[in-house]
Symmetry: C2
Subunit: 575 residues, 2 copies
């Protein structure tokens, strides 16, 4: 018998590493220690199990060829021993043993190792508020919880649900409650937007509107202060502003690395408790590897370590750990934080840094927005998509890309390409010529991602001057904020007319795009023109022309009305 | 008035450059010289106009905001002069003038320039065979031809169509004839596969099967030898093997650069006649730029110039030319040849080099195949996709990626990411950790592209030994080709049983995946085992195990039965 490889944790990174190292060293004795009895499951599938899209929890624990990944599967098919229902209590690095305890019997023992891997994952953050321990308050921490939640819904015990946390898991759970079961659902998010730090205000606002359009209540900038119960069961959630009735409360307020065993063993961890590893997924003890939600990894844009608890990364890190445990020097360079989620009929994706994070990291960051058709505009299935690019003005490096559009793979098609290019340090100029596969059913000749880079290029070089959507919306709510601003609506006269009528020629001038060269002298000299079109493209052309005529005081609303329509505003003229 | 910018050609690169340079230098006088009266159109949309997906040809000449891009549009909205119906006869580089002729009147004149751009595009290659000039024989060269073809179909004059050429345009035209109009359609391709040089045999075969499943006849390895007519009208096409009746024949046998005017002016052109330009799209005369289908560009993988007549590249090149004509030193580094097309219910995409081309270019090229689910296998909308990666064994660089799957953006989502990464010189190791945006509705935790890189990694390092699909299919047709081969089918016994029954235990051994570790001693010692599963993943695991047991004589069929099912074989046991 060869080396003893012991892996603590059996959800994602652990099993991946175990099977990889076994394939590479068939004579190794590979053992997974897992405290749970349900393991090796697709945790990201839990919302879809709860919703009913996935009918049986066993599907989340099955291979693509429909075998359940239980102890006998790992033994027979993989040659890997799984000690399930076994808790790892501690690591003796000198003796190279893991102290374990059988969860059911309480019996203790030692498991010796030559090489150890820690894949203990994460645990949900439980808000320290009164009532967090009431019956009906759940975190999404394991399959048992998921099974119990679904069971309650299926039995008709859940009429009203509140989700604490507007991150991906919280919003996916909200959709599961609402879409398939018709449960009255509310989301409470402490920050002023959903998906904080992942996407910025414009796209987050579009998602919020779509959730509300689908009858999910979304309360932003409201922290949960107390969970109220009766007879030990949850009945409502309190925030600073309201009390929301609830039969069930989901706490989806983020996760924290589950790394106590590493800390106790004296391994180096980050301030937030994530295990520190090198590119080979090795901890500060060369005999101990770690991967998955319990580690921190390098961010390939910021160049700093960050915490990225994602199932997709856990699997990739697990394979690299498996390689290295078998003596193959594979490396995991780091991550760019690619993200995507479905919400009813839309999806939203991102990669790299958001503007907010990029600024906080010290970049000279700015954003470009555009909202073009996702394929040839003459192709019948075309739809508007909204994209944002974050870039560094000084280096022209692309720092991040965010996209919002109809449910499907059209957003992935751009986000994945951006992730690959951002990982490679690509600049605006690279993105401008990035060769997206083109045919009319799939893309425009100038794809969204190229168009986005063109906007950013024009911004970066000072050829395009913009107003942010936030500032424009503020002004539309209160014209007194910028007395000298006036909208210049260059869309078709029929589109612009209701706005002129509602806001007056003082605040809303309408001259069609193709008449500006003839009629620009009609424009006032003492105003800042806010140029508006559907996506921002025509507005830039008009700005260039007005500049050349010495009318330099204009700003373009990037993404134009296509963005506004998706964000939703209450000042749209009624028909 | 500023500089005189003259652009010859008004379809894609020309108008793009014209509008860009005008935006950058509003005082420039920008003139497009275009021999046709219909211009600035999406030529790649022609098949969708013929099919009826696009109802009116004017849509192909319209902006996304529904304005037709005619002379007055360019004048009023863009400030660009279009001299349509005007042919450029020659360039006097010394005097800096273009000699032009009005096509209608025959009147000649001179147009002076400070900076000139040639964007004359390409012309279809007309096969030098008898009957090529018969009525009813068309190339897809301009909108007039498209209008005439559609008119004939709409009037019921086309019952039978033959397309010469199995490239993208030919196949898109075949679909247009068959799918929307029910025309009896045949495709004749001189090479032994469709999409030659773009994709390799496995994926080309899948596309051929899908075309045939949709009642398009596909004749491969057959050159058209003669077009037969009666009373001046086409009646049939002859090949070496057959005569195919036809009311219409589409010649889609590739295009050639339309560069006579550049050659006559003494500009440097390639052996095939493409205009040679630098990264700034400048020809051998610094005052003359060129872009689009008339130029050659750098291939970012081979490092050699190549001819890439694609509308998407023409637009990007046009923008770079426009920048440089205005004094902004933008560069167009080159291309990787990204490609995608729809065919009925499927799509097929590629980027980088095919295996055939990579070998011809002198790479130590090999391929990896896999056929996994395109999203979490437990998610309801999952489907099998088939992918191939071409890589260099010596440098581990990824040279190309090809994908086939259901119609949608799922193939683009991988091809675009691959294009970005290949452009950056990424290796197998980079692709293994490429961070595809993950959530179960969009991807597996280990995305197709990562899985593909894993297979290639195992192949490259000699851990995985494979049999090619071509060799396996040859053997299945004639077992005597490899007397010592025997299939080892590790799928579920119910899946394998009909094969064992049909081919006998001598040629088809069935032991399920999860029983091999127990039962491997049943395997013969004197045979080469061809290990078969659904996608190839399990087969590799079994090969690793058998190797460790000293049973090293085995080969894996990459992509497994998922590939075979899509390619279609006649030896499948009937139920």
């Amino acid at each position: 018998m060869g080396k003893k490889i012991v892996i603590i944790g059996g959800v994602a990174a652990g099993p991946k590493a175990a099977c990889r190292v076994k394939r590479l060293m068939q004579d190794a004795e590979v053992t997974i220690i897992e405290q749970d009895t349900l393991f090796s499951y697709g945790g990201c599938g839990i919302p879809y199990y709860v919703s009913g899209d996935v009918s049986d929890e066993a599907e989340l624990r099955s291979t693509s060829f429909h075998m359940v990944r239980d102890e006998s599967f790992f033994r027979d098919a993989k040659g890997v021993i799984v000690k399930s229902g076994t808790r790892a209590l501690g690591i003796d690095r000198k003796d190279k043993t893991v102290q374990v305890q059988d969860v059911a019997s309480g019996d203790k023992g030692d498991v010796p190792y030559d090489v150890l891997m820690i894949a203990t994952g994460s645990r949900p953050f439980v808000l320290p508020i009164p009532g967090a321990d009431l019956d009906g308050v759940f975190t999404i921490s394991d399959l048992h919880k998921a099974i119990e939640i679904k069971d309650r819904i299926a039995k008709g015990k859940v009429g009203k649900a509140v989700v604490i946390g507007g991150g991906a898991i919280g919003l996916e759970m909200a959709e599961a409650f609402k879409d398939l079961w018709g449960v009255e659902t509310a989301v409470v998010e402490f920050m002023p937007q959903v998906l904080p730090r992942i996407v910025d205000f414009p796209l987050a606002s579009m998602l919020t509107k779509h959730l509300r359009d689908n009858d999910v209540d979304v309360f932003l900038g409201e922290g949960a202060t107390e969970i109220i119960g009766k007879d030990g069961k949850v009945t409502a959630l309190k925030t600073a502003n309201r009390t929301i009735e609830a039969d069930i409360v989901i706490m989806a307020a983020g996760v924290r690395p589950r790394s106590e065993i590493a800390v106790d063993a004296g391994l180096v961890t980050s301030p937030m408790g994530a295990i520190v590893v090198n590119e080979r997924m090795q901890t500060s003890d060369p005999s101990i590897y770690a991967a998955g939600d319990c580690v921190e990894v390098m961010h390939l844009v910021s160049g700093k370590k960050f915490y990225a608890p994602l199932g997709s990364l856990a699997n990739k890190e697990g394979r690299v750990a498996g390689d290295n445990m078998a003596g193959i020097p594979s490396i995991f360079k780091g991550a760019v934080g690619s993200f995507i989620m479905k919400a009813f009929d839309v999806c939203i994706g991102a990669t790299g840094l958001s503007l907010e994070v990029a600024l906080a990291e010290g970049f000279d960051a700015d954003v470009a927005l555009t909202a073009p058709a996702d394929r040839a505009h003459f192709f019948p299935t075309e739809a508007v998509v909204c994209f944002q690019m974050v870039f560094d003005r000084r280096t022209r490096r692309v720092l991040g890309v965010q996209g919002f559009g109809p449910m499907g793979d059209g957003i992935s098609a751009r986000i994945n390409a951006a992730a690959a290019y951002i990982s490679s340090g690509a600049t605006l100029d690279d993105f401008g010529t990035l060769e997206m596969a083109y045919a009319p059913p799939f893309s425009a000749a100038i794809d969204t991602i190229n168009a986005l880079a063109y906007v950013a290029d024009n911004l970066c070089d000072g050829r395009l001057r913009k107003v942010s959507i936030e500032s424009f919306l503020d002004w539309m709510d209160d014209f007194s904020l910028e007395e000298e601003w006036v909208s210049l609506d260059i869309r078709h006269p029929q589109e612009a007319a209701p706005f002129v009528e509602k806001f007056g020629k003082d605040k809303w001038i309408a001259i069609p795009y193709n008449e500006i060269r003839e009629r620009f002298t009609e424009l006032p000299h003492d105003k800042t023109l806010i140029i508006l079109c559907d996506s921002g493209t025509r507005s830039f052309e008009i700005q260039s022309f007005l500049d050349s005529e010495g009318r330099a005081d204009s700003l373009v609303l990037g993404g134009g009305f296509n963005m506004l329509r998706h964000i939703g505003v209450d000042w749209y003229p009624s028909k």
